[in-house]
Symmetry: C2
Subunit: 227 residues, 2 copies
């Protein structure tokens, strides 16, 4: 499905990897765990995702912060690494102090005049609100939409439907932008227009759906929309 | 929850990694792709799993054979590997000729006298039936139960409920055995008694449920049940 730009009235952005750069977590992991950090980071991230999917399938909701901590403990155990409570807390609190990618502020400022803007994320509201406040994004965002509202995680249809509800716009008037290929697939299958923010070389999922558009970052996406 | 062995009247086994050894697929991957085989195998397996979860969450069912082929194409693209159609077909057809682990036949034969036995798997019936026939397991299995019957994959509650329905036994009289930690978690959350078949060193998922029992293989499980 090609982009139908003139229909778009609102844009919902995924949070982690799309707006917020989790590099500072990797940096802290390296400081604490040295040459084991990469392996821990990979396992942590993988389990974090898997637990959102598995818990939704099992019907056993747990909020994103707690589930992320469970995933960290899994990663530590799987890599035979010990960490004390203070280190775990410090790692988890990094989620409150994530920087946005360099082009995000400017792109949101440009888009703000034309579109209603939102975050649509798996994270719980308090996590999102603190990361938004930390980066001073409040003034540009109309809504912060969280999976916690339906107690199910992406990519269930209900979460993309929340964007329609919270932004007060039907699917055809909404663009969803994410760097996560499976998230793009879920939103596309639901019926939103979608932009894949391909920040690094990666491969689109083979789930029989394609994003309307691919952009290297949000500046490039803003260029496409505001021409 | 501790094992309540005297209540058990039926046992449902997961298929791949629990009864059937997929090592022959890895062997064929090595023959075709040499030193890139390990990377392809890891990506293929990961995507195969992810696509069962994602498609179920998205409400976009596709059968296990086709979804597995999609995952193979993803793995080839992600590793920058080219393969012709004949090679893809050969790899996929390996699923029809998987050997059971060495102790499986004897363990099933021992359990058969006391318990109703079934396979409970994500795979489509034709895949399972051919792998069962290839290993001559037909005589020991009462039921072959497939996710295809509900068009949703593990670990949704509905799939573990199928074991009750097809074996005609309530959850408390059923043991589910799997080597896959997330599958064990799903069945435990549903309310089945569960055995984790820990064929290699691995770590239990942190999903707030624990299997009733852990066994190194099916022989050890049979020993526990038949004492």
């Amino acid at each position: 499905m090609a982009l139908n730009a003139e229909k778009i009235k609102g844009i919902a952005f995924d949070a982690y990897g799309t707006l917020f750069d989790i590099a500072s977590i990797d940096f802290l992991l390296e400081q604490i765990f040295d040459d084991r950090a990469r392996q821990i980071a990979a396992q942590w991230r993988r389990k974090q995702l898997e637990y959102t999917w598995l818990r939704t399938l099992m019907g056993q909701y747990k909020d994103f912060y707690e589930l992320t901590r469970d995933a960290l403990y899994y990663a530590l155990e799987a890599t035979n690494t010990s960490a004390d409570e203070a280190q775990v807390r410090e790692l988890m609190q990094q989620y409150y102090h994530l920087d946005v990618y360099p082009e995000v502020r400017n792109a949101l400022a440009r888009l703000r005049g034309t579109y209603r803007l939102a975050i649509l994320s798996n994270a719980n509201p308090s996590l999102l609100e603190r990361a938004v406040a930390y980066n001073g994004l409040d003034e540009w965002l109309d809504e912060i939409i969280s999976a916690d509202q339906i107690r199910q995680y992406k990519p269930v249809p209900g979460i993309y439907q929340l964007a329609e509800k919270e932004l007060g716009l039907p699917a055809e008037n909404l663009l969803f932008a994410s760097s996560n290929t499976w998230d793009v697939a879920g939103a596309t299958a639901y019926g939103l227009q979608t932009a894949w923010v391909q920040r690094r070389r990666s491969v689109m999922e083979r789930l029989d759906v394609k994003p309307a558009v691919t952009a290297a970052n949000l500046e490039e996406l803003a260029d496409m929309l505001l021409t």
